[in-house]
């Protein structure tokens, strides 16, 4: 049913549709409303789950790990410093191949302390072995949350659904919420193949010697690569159910004959779409590539998506200091062996909540025409705010 809902409220309802057995989370801005809404659903009797109030994100992640390993469908959500406090457990969850779903309400990581949005937090656990799906709007966030349980449980890999903090979590917009019957028929009950069971004792998380460690890593990587197909198939199946796809790994829109492409993840995509409508007369139309699945990285789909482009602007919402943009660097690596690959222009923008206006489309497109523009920049920097030696 279509309804005007705040993003966080919609996520809580989407989680409830998936009937989690255990929810454990610690509130942190801008994830707080998700947890509050889940707690409210429990209190009002609309969600029957074991809601575990914990004293930290480390505990939240540990509780859901244990729960899922014992055969319970489990969910958590966090952001920013919370992701980092969880990080040890996040690597364990993935390495143990325990299926879980977590929402990351993307927020900058301190210092300097910031409660505002960028994607530094999920980037910091890029290599934890979780699947990462980025939502461009709240409808996609809802749909990805529901899909995430099926993907996680099919692949036995945890899934992180990333949504831009505040920009999506605190925005009310029209969302089509699937109804209970639809999801009950689509998402089978959780059954874990390696369920902890006192009747058939097994150990998990034991020491792995050098004789087997490389094999474990190889198998995790191989499972992630196989997940590419599962993610695409799940989105397609969900589209059969709801009439709505989010674009599996990535989607291409805009001018198919354009020579300049712009690739972005998350809510920036919508602003770029509006910017292109308003500024294409001035700076030309682009091919817009919305990267939905960041891990596993959809290398083949990306190579197809950039065919015919001379330039590709890659928007990063985080930075790896001393290197540049994370997504931009990965895109460049994937395209390195492609003949006639576009030149990469990588810009980090909207850091720590800096507003991204629609003029960003025009400004980004204009960098392509400038042969002296650096291959990477932190965009929209006012150097006058810095001491001369820091510029």
């Amino acid at each position: 049913m279509r309804k005007a809902l705040e993003g966080s409220q919609a996520i809580a309802r989407a989680v409830a549709l998936c009937r989690p057995d255990v929810v454990a989370a610690y509130p942190i801005t801008p994830q707080t409303h998700i947890v509050e809404n889940l707690s409210k659903l429990v209190a009002e009797g609309d969600l029957h789950t074991e809601f575990v109030s914990v004293e930290s994100e480390f505990s939240a992640a540990s509780v859901v790990l244990g729960a899922a390993a014992a055969g319970a469908r489990a969910y958590t959500a966090t952001a920013s410093q919370g992701v980092l406090l969880m990080s040890e457990v996040l690597f364990n969850i993935a390495g143990l191949r325990v299926p879980l779903v977590m929402t990351v309400a993307n927020r900058a990581v301190g210092a300097p302390l910031s409660i505002w949005n960028d994607q530094s937090d999920s980037m910091a656990v890029r290599d934890s072995g979780w699947i990462q799906i980025h939502a461009a709007d709240n409808q996609e966030a809802v749909d990805a949350t529901i899909q995430a349980f099926r993907i996680a449980e099919t692949c036995e890999i945890p899934v992180m659904v990333c949504m831009d903090g505040f920009i999506l979590t605190h925005t009310m917009e029209v969302i089509d919420m699937p109804d209970t019957d639809m999801i009950d028929g689509w998402l089978p009950p959780y059954e874990f193949s390696r369920n902890l069971d006192p009747a058939a004792p097994t150990s998990i998380g034991t020491l792995v010697t050098p004789d087997f460690f490389a094999e474990m890593r190889h198998s995790h990587h191989a499972a992630m690569m196989r997940a590419l197909e599962v993610i695409e198939q799940t989105d397609a199946d969900y589209a059969d159910l709801t009439g709505r796809a989010s674009g599996g790994l990535l989607t291409v829109e805009g001018d198919p004959d354009a020579k300049v492409g712009i690739l972005a993840m998350g809510s920036t995509v919508g602003t770029l779409r509006t910017g292109m409508e308003h500024f294409s007369d001035e700076v030309g139309a682009a091919r817009l590539i919305k990267l939905r699945t960041f891990r596993p990285f959809p290398s083949d789909a990306l190579r197809d998506a950039v065919k015919g482009l001379d330039h590709l602007i890659v928007v990063d919402r985080a930075i790896s200091p001393g290197l540049g943009g994370v997504v931009g660097t990965e895109v460049a690596a994937v395209l390195a062996d492609v003949e006639g690959a576009p030149r990469i222009h990588n810009h980090a923008l909207g850091l720590g909540g800096r507003d991204i206006p629609e003029t960003i489309y025009r400004d980004l497109m204009q960098t392509v025409a400038n042969p002296d523009a650096p291959a990477f920049s932190v965009f929209d920097v006012d150097l006058n705010k810095l001491q001369p030696e820091d510029r």
């Binding site: 005007a4 949005n117 920009i167 009310m172 917009e173 919508g270 602003t271 779409r273 509006t274 991204i356």
Partner: protein, 188 residues
């Protein structure tokens, strides 16, 4: 697309006002978007919230830089020089104030209507929360949405005594400002 900015202070329900306006727009068949300017909210601190309403899907996610109208929940914010920044030509502001509308219009050089929303709210709901009264007045001025859409949004959010008192409040506030005088700008 119509864009609005709501200025208030923490505790006055500015973000709730934005959500209510968006929800009312949805009830009336529009697409909508509402969100706060993301600060560390606390009582008394300035708060800004944004609303976009359109017939087509809304993709833009920046803050509202060129609003068609402003709703000002706290007259002390009139001293903020950035208050009217980017206000569109022909745009106006609805201010929660007992001042004469002409005075404010003259001071800011734009359309302005003052509505004593706090006083109305004190009389009807017994609390100084001006948001729903201002929304009702705003809908009367702009003819943007029917009052029933606002009532429907309120019914979705509140119940019991709070709902009844707010419904009485919006009925009064809707009649406290001239009808449709901002309609032309709204259609432009």
């Amino acid at each position: 697309m119509k864009e609005f900015r709501i200025h208030g202070r923490g505790g006055q329900g500015s973000v709730a006002a934005a959500y209510l306006l968006a929800a009312a727009a949805f009830e009336a068949g529009f697409t909508c978007q509402a969100f706060p300017a993301f600060g560390a909210e606390r009582r008394g601190a300035p708060v800004t919230a944004f609303v976009r309403i359109d017939k087509a899907p809304i993709h833009l996610r920046s803050q509202v830089h060129s609003p068609d109208f402003l709703i000002v929940q706290d007259a002390t914010l009139l001293h903020d020089p950035a208050l009217t920044a980017g206000l569109k030509d022909g745009g106006g502001m609805l201010v929660n104030s007992t001042r004469a509308s002409e005075d404010v219009a003259k001071e800011f050089g734009c359309k302005a209507i003052c509505l004593p929303a706090t006083e109305l709210a004190m009389e009807e709901i017994g609390r100084p929360i001006p948001n729903t009264a201002l929304l009702a007045g705003f809908l009367t001025l702009t003819d943007l949405l029917p009052q029933e859409a606002l009532a429907a949004a309120l019914k979705d959010r509140f119940k019991g005594d709070v709902l009844q008192k707010n419904l009485s409040l919006i009925a009064r506030a809707a009649d406290a400002v001239p009808h449709g005088i901002w309609k032309e700008a709204e259609d432009a």
